[in-house]
Symmetry: C2
C-alpha cells in the first residue's frame, strides 16, 4: 500500500466522524422487536457503504421471520493473494437504564475526544472503521493489496443464530485465509492489543412458579411458597459466597493456562487498585480465592445474575407474594468447557435444588463455546506488526472474559485463524450507560487495519 | 330499628350496585403519584355520599403536599346513646400485573354474582356498604339509633401516615364508644366472622450497591461484586429454607396463643388441602415446622420478598452486572413484637450480613404494630349477634395474618374496643389480579351493619 491510502485517512477525519454519527443515530437494538425497522435501516446503511466503496455482490442475506439480515460484500480482484474475511456487527444492546446517560444514547455526542452513544465502540464504531480502512485503500490506490470479504451481522447481542446457521450452510462462499474481528478492546490506553482467547457463554432464564396466582402476603405469608425466596435460595446454591460455582461437574474440564501465558499476563500493566477503584468504582473485588484477577476474568468460568423479573418493584409498599419470579442467569465458560454439557449440568442441578412448592423451568437464550487462538501464524504476527507501527508500542496479547461466539465458529467451520484486533478502551462502558469510543483510537484503528492489509499483501 | 330500614335495603339493591360501580371506576391508587387526581375524586365521592345522607360537618381533612385527604362526617343526634366511629379506606392497591385481569381493573364487571374490580372488596366495597347501611337507616327511619362518626382514609395501601398523625392530634373530635372497621374477610363462605387479631407490618426496601456503574458480565464477571448475588445471599440469611427468620432476637417476644384460642381455631372449618390446592393453587405449603398452618398465618411472624428492582429484565440476553439491586422485603409481626425494635434488629443484621464489596441501605416504607382485641365486651358481642341474625349461623372468631395499622391505633389512642366485621371471602383475590366482592355478601353486609346499629341503640 502506498502513501495515498494514508493520505486519504488523514484527510477524511471529519467525513469519518459524520458517517459514524449517522450510523450511531440508528437505534438498532436487536433484542427488542419494536426496533426491527431500525435493524433493517442499519443493515441498509452498511450495504450502502460497501456498494459505495465499490464492493461486488453486496446483499442483505435474509434469515426468515425472526432473524435480522446479514450484510455481505466482496472484493476479489487480487489473484494469488490471501483472502481476509472481515466481521463486525451493526446491532447494539438496549440502552437502559436510560436516566443514567449524560447524553441520549442515540444522539451521539462528542466530549473530550470521545464519542458517546450506544454502540459507539460495541460494535458500530469498530465495524465502521473496518469499512473506512478498506475504503481509503480503494479510493487512495484504486485497488486492495489482498482479497476482502465483509460479513456484518445484526444479531450479535441476541445470540447470533442467523450468522451461525449461515456460516454452517455457506462455508464455500466465506472461504478465506483468515478472519478479522474488530469487537474487542485494548488492554490499556496506548497499548496495542490482540485478543487471543475469549470465554464462552450460556445465557438462561430460570423461572420459578409458586401459587397459581399472586397472593396477599398478610393472608398467606408463613404458608405460601414465595418464588423470590426460592430464586434467592437457588442462586446461592448455584454460586456460593466464596465465588465457587456449585453445579456438580462444572469445573471438571477447566484447565490452568500455560505457565508462559500466565507469566505474560503478569507482565501486563495491570493495577488491581485502579481497576477496582477507577474503572469499576467498586470497594472490593470478589470471586474465587487462588486465581489472580486476570485469571478469574479470562480463564475461570463464572455465573452471574442480571436481573429478576416479577412481583412488585414500583414505588410504595405492595404486599404481594408473587406467583412467578424469573431470574436472568448466565455462565461464562473457558475453552475446555462444552456449552451443551454445561446446559445439561445446570438444568439437572436446578431441578435438584428447586425448593418445595416451586416449579422451575430453564430457558436457554443463547450459548457459545469459548475459543483460544495460537499466536504463532503470519496473520496474527502481521496484525501485531501493523498495530505496533501505528501505535508505536509493542503489541501485547491478552484474553478477554467476554464472548464472541463467531470467533469459535469461524475457527471450527472455516478452519482459519481468527485475528481479534480491538481499539476499545477499558473505560468505554460496554453494555452500560454512557458507552463511548475514544476518537483517536477510531482514527488509528483505521490506519492499523489499512497497514494490516498492506502487510498481508506483501 | 324498625322494619323500614330493612325495607329500604331490600328495595335498593340496584342503586347500591350502581353507586359501588361508580366508586370502583375511580383508579384511586394511593402509591402512584400520577393517580393523585383520582385519589381526590374518590375522596370527594365519599364526602358527597356523607352529605347526601344528611351527615354534618362533612369535610376533606388535608394533610399537606404528599398526603391524601381523610374524609370526615358525623351524625350526633342520639344523646345518651353510644357513639360508633366507622372506618374504611377509599384508596386501592396498584393493579399490576395488568395482563392477568380477565376484565380491566377499573371497569367493574359482574360475573356469577361477583363484582370484579380493583378495590371491590379491599376496601371500597366494604366502605360503601357501611355508608349504605347508615343511609338506609336514616332514609327508612329518619334517624339513627346511635351516634355515628365516619373517618375514611386514602392512604391505607401506602402506610396510613396521615390518619395516624390525625388520630394522635384530634382524639377529642374522634371520641367514641367503639370503632368499627370493615376491611377483613369471613373465614369461609356463609360463616359470619369477627376478626379479633391482626399481624403488624414492617415494609422495607433493601438496596444493594456494587460497582459505581453497570458492568459487562464478560469483562468483569469473576471479580465484580454483583448486587443481585448479594441480595440473594442476604435474603437466604434473613430467612432460611426452613422458614425460620434468622434475625437475632426476632422471635424473643413471640408467645403462643392461649390454649383456648388454639382449640377454637382447630374447630374452624379449615381444609388444608383445599386451602393449598383450590385457594392458592399451590403444590405445597411451606414455612416453619411445628406450628399449624393457621398458627403460622395468624400467630407467627414472617418475612417475605415482594420483588427485586434493577438490572435487566426485558426480553433477550443483556449481559450486565448491574450496579444496584433493590429488594422489597416486609415482615409481619405478632402482637408482642415492637415494630421499632424489629426495624433496629433488621437494620443491624442487614449491615452484618452485607457481603464484601456491597454497600446496603435500608428504607422503611411503612410500619404498624399487631393487635388483638378481647372478645368479651358488648360491642363485639352485639356485632356477633347482628351477623348471626343476618347470616343465620353462629359467628366465629378468627385472627388475620394481614395488617390494619389503624386498629391498633384506635385502641391505643382512643382507648376503645375495635370491632372488625368483614364480608370478604378467602378467594376474593385481595391485592392480586381479578379482585372481587361476592355481591350477596355486599347486600348482607349492609343489613348486618344496620342490625348492629339497631342492637347498639337498644
Amino acid at each position: 500500500m502506498g502513501t495515498s491510502a494514508f493520505e486519504y485517512y488523514k484527510a477524511n477525519h471529519d467525513q469519518f466522524l459524520t458517517g459514524l454519527t449517522d450510523l450511531l443515530k440508528i437505534p438498532s437494538i436487536s433484542t427488542l422487536p419494536e426496533h426491527k425497522p431500525d435493524i433493517r435501516r442499519a443493515a441498509e446503511f452498511i450495504a450502502g457503504e460497501l456498494r459505495g466503496m465499490g464492493f461486488d455482490g453486496v446483499e442483505l442475506i435474509e434469515g426468515g421471520e425472526d432473524r435480522h439480515p446479514l450484510v455481505y460484500g466482496e472484493w476479489m480482484k487480487a489473484p494469488g493473494k490471501p483472502t481476509l474475511l472481515i466481521y463486525g456487527h451493526y446491532d447494539v444492546q438496549p440502552p437502559d437504564p436510560l436516566d443514567e446517560w449524560k447524553s441520549p444514547p442515540f444522539e451521539p455526542d462528542v466530549r473530550d475526544q470521545n464519542i458517546y452513544a450506544r454502540g459507539a465502540v460495541d460494535d458500530k464504531g469498530q465495524t465502521y472503521l473496518l469499512m473506512k480502512a478498506v475504503e481509503g485503500c480503494l479510493k487512495g490506490e484504486g485497488q486492495l493489496p489482498i482479497n476482502v470479504k465483509f460479513l456484518i451481522e445484526g444479531e450479535e447481542e441476541m445470540g447470533g443464530e442467523h450468522i451461525e446457521a449461515y456460516v454452517r450452510q455457506a462455508p464455500d462462499r466465506l472461504k478465506c485465509s483468515a478472519a478479522l474481528i474488530c469487537d474487542t478492546e485494548m488492554f490499556a490506553p496506548e497499548l496495542p492489543t490482540l485478543t487471543t482467547g475469549l470465554r464462552g457463554l450460556v445465557y438462561t432464564e430460570l423461572e420459578a412458579r409458586g401459587a397459581g396466582h399472586d397472593l396477599h402476603s398478610g393472608m398467606y405469608g408463613g404458608a405460601a411458597p414465595n418464588p423470590f425466596q426460592a430464586v434467592a435460595e437457588m442462586i446461592v446454591n448455584l454460586k456460593g459466597p466464596n465465588g465457587k460455582i456449585r453445579i456438580p461437574g462444572f469445573y471438571k474440564r477447566v484447565t490452568k493456562p500455560s505457565a508462559k501465558e500466565l507469566a505474560a499476563w503478569k507482565r501486563l500493566p495491570f493495577n488491581e487498585k485502579n481497576f477496582m477503584k477507577k474503572e469499576m468504582e467498586a470497594t472490593a473485588l470478589v470471586g474465587e480465592k487462588g486465581p489472580s484477577v486476570l485469571q478469574r476474568l479470562w480463564a475461570r468460568p463464572t455465573l452471574e445474575v442480571h436481573g429478576i423479573r416479577g412481583g412488585f418493584t414500583g414505588e410504595g409498599a405492595k404486599t404481594v407474594i408473587p406467583a412467578v419470579a424469573t431470574a436472568k442467569i448466565s455462565m461464562r465458560l473457558v475453552p475446555e468447557m462444552d456449552p451443551k454439557e454445561v446446559i445439561k449440568q445446570y438444568t439437572a442441578y436446578v431441578k435438584k435444588i428447586t425448593p418445595k412448592g416451586i416449579a422451575t423451568k430453564v430457558r436457554v437464550l443463547s450459548q457459545a463455546p469459548a475459543s483460544v487462538v495460537s499466536t504463532e501464524n503470519r496473520f496474527i504476527e502481521a496484525a501485531a506488526e501493523a498495530m505496533e507501527q501505528v501505535f508505536k508500542k509493542k503489541t501485547v496479547y491478552m484474553r478477554s472474559g467476554g464472548s464472541i461466539p463467531i470467533a469459535g465458529l469461524f475457527h471450527e467451520i472455516l478452519g482459519v485463524p481468527v485475528v481479534m484486533m480491538g481499539f476499545g478502551l477499558p473505560d468505554d462502558n460496554l453494555h452500560a450507560p454512557n458507552e463511548k469510543f475514544y476518537l483517536p483510537n477510531f482514527y488509528r484503528g483505521i490506519e492499523a487495519v489499512g497497514k494490516y492489509l498492506a502487510l498481508l499483501g506483501q
